[in-house]
């Protein structure tokens, strides 16, 4: 097997290692030079594993004017990312199996990198009632990361329930380390600069 995606990378340094030659056969690292591989002088360049972005906004569905799964994942792939997590604040919110499956399928169809939809923790990101976390976990999207992102889950009891509930399928919650009562109208870190600029800390 050889093709457009078969390479001999000369002089490349795997992160933290010495310069070496790497062989890529149709996108996969191999031990020996594949036939028909193109040669690339990678002197001074660093080889990294595929990067994973845990926090992206692909905006689809609902805000395709700002970004789509296609454009977002293309940018990600060009930047070395092989997987991105897409936050749930779409329109409609990714709080049911149908929406996360849609986003996941769009990622598959685009084909640039893996798209892992992040499920909302609460219905509509409103922080009042748990979303169907189990249904999202069992959907084709196999959601394991849940977050209300900028909205934050600020009810401590609801957060406790959510964290416990996720144990059934090894899910995790990503949470901004902030409390909405303490960040009401906040614009910047509170300190000497916020005092000087007259901005709310």
């Amino acid at each position: 097997m050889s093709g457009q995606n078969s390479w001999v990378l000369k002089g490349v340094r795997p992160l933290g290692g010495e310069p070496t030659t790497l062989f890529v056969d149709d996108g996969v690292l191999v031990d020996a030079e594949p036939s028909g591989a193109q040669s690339f002088d990678a002197d001074g360049l660093i080889a990294l594993p595929g990067l994973v972005d845990l926090h992206t906004h692909l905006r689809e569905p609902g805000r395709e004017d700002a970004e789509t799964v296609e454009t977002g994942t293309l940018a990600a792939a060009l930047g070395g990312f092989t997987a991105v997590h897409a936050m749930a604040n779409t329109e409609p919110v990714a709080d049911v199996a149908g929406v996360v499956e849609q986003v996941w399928r769009l990622g598959q169809d685009a084909g640039h990198c893996d798209v892992h939809p992040v499920g909302a923790v609460t219905v509509g990101l409103r922080g009042e009632q748990l979303a169907e976390l189990g249904a999202m976990a069992e959907s084709a999207a196999r959601v394991r990361v849940f977050s209300d992102d900028g909205k934050c889950v600020h009810d401590p009891m609801l957060m406790r329930r959510a964290l416990e509930y996720l144990r059934a399928f090894d899910g995790v919650i990503a949470q901004h380390a902030q409390d909405p009562r303490l960040t009401d109208g906040a614009q910047m870190n509170e300190g000497v600069q916020s005092a000087r600029l007259g901005l709310v800390g």
Partner: protein, 312 residues
């Protein structure tokens, strides 16, 4: 046997088997035209119910009456209890009435235990808060033995709101005593912290456990729990933790399905499962009377031989 039945843990293996054997003898009575025994004539049994439960109260009442005991139903509603009389005052009143046994249902965990310190008669816990309901566990074990011939070695799966369930707590204790292997299945939110120390296994995956179960016991899940954030929706609860026909089809051939009632059809149990031949729900009600007769009989001083003789 101890003087009281407050917890399923009060029964050692011999005690539990004695109750089940006695209940079996007494159950034969139900097939006779005259169902009454003179055994507890002149003894007074008080049903002290601070929580409404017509089913359980009626079951105890029928059990006591079949043994010819005098039965007083002391319901909290309309009594001095609702006018602020304390549990202790109530206990002293019952003591003065000469109650030989007090069957108590209370919304507070531990109430029967308190009561037992204040009266000379026997106290039977008929369900206290989210603590225990030992006679339910006994009638469940009785039903398993009736259907499957044994309790020892059975794989019993208890599914649902374990956190708030007195039925689950009593069943875990009693079934362990009787040598069954219990697995609890629930969303992690509906399992108590500390469940790891109980003599049972825990799983979150009902589909994995059902095919290995001889008995599946479905617990009632209250819709209010959804508003407490314990699970997202009743739809998701049913899908993940409910027993429907598809899951029931994966049970071994002889396996049975139990429910302490009252059921939420379509939530924890599908109607076609509740009404299937595997379901023991109606038998459980009938067996409740026999088991409660046995408990009252044994607590109030009857010996096994005498019980068998009078039932013969």
């Amino acid at each position: 046997m101890n003087r009281h039945l407050l917890s399923a843990a009060d029964l050692n293996r011999d005690d539990a088997l004695l109750v089940l054997d006695t209940a079996e003898e007494l159950a034969r009575l139900a097939d006779r035209p005259i169902k009454k025994l003179p055994t507890l004539r002149g003894r007074t049994v008080v049903n002290l119910f601070f929580e409404d439960s017509t089913r359980t109260r009626t079951s105890f009442e029928l059990a006591a009456k079949r043994l010819s005991a005098d039965v007083i139903n002391f319901s909290a509603k309309g009594s001095s209890v609702s006018k602020g009389e304390s549990l202790k005052d109530t206990a002293l009143t019952l003591e003065a009435m000469g109650a030989d046994a007090v069957v108590v249902r209370h919304s507070a965990s531990g109430a029967p235990h308190r009561l037992a310190h204040w009266i000379r008669g026997s106290v039977v816990n008929a369900g206290d808060g989210t603590h225990e309901h030992p006679t339910q566990a006994l009638l469940d074990a009785f039903t398993m033995r009736q259907r499957l011939g044994r309790v020892e070695g059975l794989h019993v799966t208890i599914v649902g709101d374990v956190l708030h369930s007195r039925v689950a707590r009593s069943n875990v204790l009693l079934l362990h005593t009787l040598g069954a292997e219990v697995t609890l299945v629930a969303p992690p939110t509906l399992l108590p912290v500390g469940v790891d120390a109980w003599p049972c296994d825990v799983s979150f995956d009902l589909d994995a456990v059902v095919p290995k179960s001889d008995v599946v016991m479905m617990l009632r899940v209250q819709r209010e729990r959804m508003h407490g954030g314990f699970f997202p929706t009743t739809r998701e609860y049913s899908r993940r933790y409910g027993l429907d026909a598809r899951r029931m089809a994966t049970l071994p051939d002889d396996a049975i399905v139990m429910h302490p009632g009252p059921m939420n059809r379509g939530v924890e149990i599908a109607a076609e499962v509740a009404d299937s031949v595997r379901s023991t729900i109606v038998e459980q009600v009938a067996n409740g009377v026999s088991v409660r007769m046995a408990v009252l009989y044994l607590l109030l001083g009857g010996g096994m031989a005498e019980a068998v003789e009078s039932a013969a």
